[in-house]
Amino acid sequence: MQRTQIGFLSLLLVTLALVGCDPTKFTKIADGAPVRVIEAPGSARVNGTGFGSQMATYSSVQGGVLVSRLAGSGGGGTQVSVFPIFDGTSVGESALFDYCLSEADCGVGIGASVAGVAALADRKLCAVSGAPAAGQIVYRCESGADSSRGLRLPLGGLPGTGMGTAMVAVPDGTTIHSGSENVRVVISAPTAAAGQSSLYYLRDSAASTSLFPVPPTFTLPTGVAGLGDHLAIAPIDDARTLLVATANAGGTKSAVVLVMNNSDASLEVRACLDGGTVARTVVAAGDLNGDGLPEIAVAEDGNSPLRTPTVNVFDGRGLPETAAPSGTCPPWNTVSTSGAQRSTITCEESSGISCTGNVFGYAMHIADVNADGFGELMIGAPFAAVGDTGSAGVVYVYPGGVGGAGALPPAVLKSSDPSANGNLGRAITTFQSSPGRWEIVAAETGSSPAHLFVFLCSGLNGDAASSVAPQCLLTSATPMVDAGPSRTDASVGDSGS
């Protein structure tokens, strides 16, 4: 009998040696997960800071490799953190630096908005943040003068103007540093008093960086106030940029559509968009149908969970050809040679995700995430319940096409491990990972700590994961430097584009 027992136990030992578990297979599968998750760094990890509610990305070609940065904050009064979001091959999940939470020269209320620029004068890869309470902006760059700390402009600030409430980076058509297009950061001042400029821009001035008001030729249309709670841009051509600014137009106008001359930052009013009676309108701009003209998406009443959320998409072909007479603001052409210029996207129930009270359209962004030549419309619904998890939040990705967004059912992006009240989709942006392709970043601001979700696969045609390639990243066979200067793509505020 003793031999039998010893034989059994020996067999047991052999079995143990053969069937041991490898814990690294989980780390491997996590490393290969198609959804990269970035935790809020440092003090932003504190519950309630809402890190990620403001995000902006910007890129630069360095050594032939496209590198991207993501600047994010939790809103006014929070630190700004900068991540090396993409180094050409993978997503960086550790912050490069934070600034202005404890530095004496940072304005009070910094973090209310962020933008990023590839270059500001002799400085490169700069993150700009607004402190509207003080009427100041603060920026910090990775190289150049004072790269170790944030710089505040203007000295003394513009108190009461709300300057820095929103900002976007607009290429100015010049290149100072090889591979990095110089930009002009357009900053809103929605509470500027009469006679004060409601828009400013930040750009280099040969050897330094200065803050400038928009040219005095620009005047707001009659009856329009509060311009620029949200800003969105999209290129019209190499010389002009479409700038959409939300506005308070007496309950009838939700946004003002402007065209900016890249070279001198001059603005002209083209149209005003209907936005209904909104307390908070979100806009996004980008080419959804591939015609070269940017469409404009406006989320109606996106901040109210009590109403059926809808998103109106205005076809770019409805953009009036000429500037509106001074003081006027014509409506978007609703009838053109191509027919109806406005479509509506309404949230539709999908498996396990309810539209009720999900605040569909709380954040929006337009970018081509599947490299098919058409921009996709990403709409955040941060209060959507996922299964039994309330307010976990999702992001709808409506594929663009010849017929524009909304013609095809959306892909729904969510966390595989949703957090209650995580509010995924409260802010959305993208970063460029290869020529013609952008990756989606959505903030889950309500979790503790907050997270930034990088969806490497949108699930759309041509951008679906597989067991062989769970991550849908495309490696750039052609050096980015040969593809021309990269454009900074920054999102602004809770919405973005």
Binding site: L9, L12, L16, V19, C21, P23, T27, A33, S415, P470
Partner: protein, 493 residues
């Protein structure tokens, strides 16, 4: 009992006290004489006449019957020693002057003496230097032929049947009761020189006033010693049987296998006729024979006993009731003895709380192989079993955890392939720690298994000991005590 040799009222002396047939001395002497007689006959048949004569004379020394002298004379005569032959014939006549062939023997003596004288004369002529002639060629009485003369040899010719067939035989008759009257007739005439008789058929009549007369016919062959015992009270005609075997301690059963046995070597008178006998000895294959006893003759049986094909094993030890297995078959408990086939066997003894004893035992044919055991306490394996149990439980837990881990990994892999898996998914960490937990459980199981093996192997106590003693014969001994009789095996160490 008295031995009768009646010839014209001559009675031989009583050879033994009257205690049945127990005349051991006489019988032994007769057996010795018979053996000499038979050897002499054999030598004679081989033409070794001198040796034959010496055997006859040796028989005479044991039993002084005249037939031996006659037969010795015949042998010397055939050997060419007429003087010695004549002297022996003369002694025969002196010993038995009323022999029926006395006149013939006397003539034969004369012829032999003449031959001896002639031979001596011829020798002297051939050896004038006075060399003594070979012994036995001159007359024993010292007569010598006159010088230059050649004795006249009687014309009487020797008997034509000077062969062993002419030898004298001996016929003994014993009676019960001893005062019975015995008459021996040969060809209708009373025999006068018994017990010396010539070959032929003889009628023996035994008479007594108190018993029925018994009459038998006995055929006497040349040079034969016959002994006829006539027990009138049993109304049986008795013969003799002698049994010898190659081993000691064998027992003989005659006609009744369930009855009393006799020790071998065995020699006894038996009623004439057919008999069935069994020869048995423990450890040997029994022998059965059908025999026929002839009147006045002794049947000689010399048997060779073969050992049995099987043997026996006996197990005794310090733990009474310990279970005994032979070739994995339970056969009994200590103490135990039983038959097993000869050859090698595996003997295992088990007892609760004791270490097993296991050994190969060679069992000899027909012999008993004793085994003496001293069983030792076994080490308690409780600790080993406890650790083995916990090891198994740990292993079960580890396997279960592994399966859960694998399922979770598969689930995550599927979500990863679907493009929805987040790198911070809490299930990843859970799976990671479950894997470590499973590995830890495997490790615990392995450690406990090793510990269990150690506990199973560890044994500071001595093994059970067994002594396989030399195989020995066994014997079935008759027993008798106050409660009755029977048979029992007895042994000792």
């Amino acid at each position: 009992m008295r031995l009768w040799v009646l010839t014209c009222g001559i009675a031989l002396a009583c050879l033994a006290p009257s205690t049945g047939f127990a005349q051991n001395n006489s019988e032994a002497q007769l057996d010795v004489a018979r053996n000499h007689m038979e050897r002499g006959r054999d030598f004679f048949a081989q033409a070794r006449f001198t040796e034959a004569a010496q055997e006859f004379l040796a028989a005479y020394e044991v039993q002084p019957f005249s037939a031996f002298l006659f037969n010795a004379g015949v042998a010397y005569e055939r050997h060419g020693e007429p003087a010695r032959a004549a002297e022996l014939f003369r002694s025969y006549i002196e010993r038995d002057p009323e022999a029926s062939d006395a006149s013939d023997v006397r003539a034969r003596i004369e012829r032999l003496r003449a031959q001896a004288l002639a031979a001596a004369a011829a020798f002297q002529q051939a050896n004038p230097d006075g060399t003594t002639p070979p012994d036995g060629t001159t007359p024993p009485d010292g007569t010598t032929p006159p010088d230059g003369t050649t004795p006249v040899v009687p014309t009487t010719t020797p008997p034509a049947d000077e062969t062993p067939a002419s030898f004298k035989s001996l016929l003994y008759i014993e009676t019960v009761p001893v005062d019975a009257h015995v008459t021996i007739l040969h060809e209708g005439q009373p025999v006068t020189n018994a017990p010396t008789v010539d070959p032929g058929d003889y009628t023996v009549r035994v008479e007594h006033p108190d018993y029925n007369t018994k009459e038998v016919t006995i055929r006497v062959r040349p040079n034969e010693l016959l002994r006829y015992v006539c027990d009138l009270s049993r109304a049986e005609t008795i013969g003799f049987m002698s049994v010898q075997v190659n081993v000691e301690g064998a027992r003989l059963f005659i006609d009744d296998h369930e009855g009393a046995s006799n020790q071998i070597p065995y020699r006894t008178p038996l009623p004439i006729g057919p008999h069935h006998i069994w020869i048995e000895r423990s450890g040997y294959q029994p022998i059965e024979r059908d025999v026929t006893i002839e009147v006045a003759r002794q049947l000689e049986l010399r048997e060779t006993m073969e050992r049995l094909n099987n043997g026996r094993i006996r197990v005794i030890g310090n733990v009474r009731g310990a279970t005994i297995y032979i070739d994995n078959n339970r056969v009994g408990a200590v103490p135990w003895e039983g038959d097993v086939s000869s050859g090698s066997h595996n003997v295992r003894v088990e007892a609760d709380g004791m270490k097993d004893w296991d050994e190969a035992v060679e069992v000899s044919r027909g012999q008993l192989t004793p085994i003496r055991l001293r069983m030792r306490p076994s080490v308690s394996r409780g600790g080993a079993w406890v650790t083995a149990t916990f090891s198994a439980l740990s292993l079960g837990g580890a396997i279960a955890l592994s399966m859960l881990t694998d399922n979770l990994h598969d689930e995550l892999a599927a979500e990863s392939a679907a493009g929805t898996l987040a790198s911070n998914d809490s299930r990843v960490q859970r799976g990671f720690w479950m894997s470590i937990g499973a590995d830890a459980a495997y490790g615990v199981a392995a450690g406990l298994a090793i510990l269990s093996i150690y506990y199973f192997i560890r044994d500071p106590l001595p093994d059970s000991e067994g002594t396989i003693l030399e195989p020995r014969d066994w014997a079935l001994l008759p027993t008798m005590d106050a409660h009755g009789g029977g048979a029992a095996f007895r042994w000792s160490f």
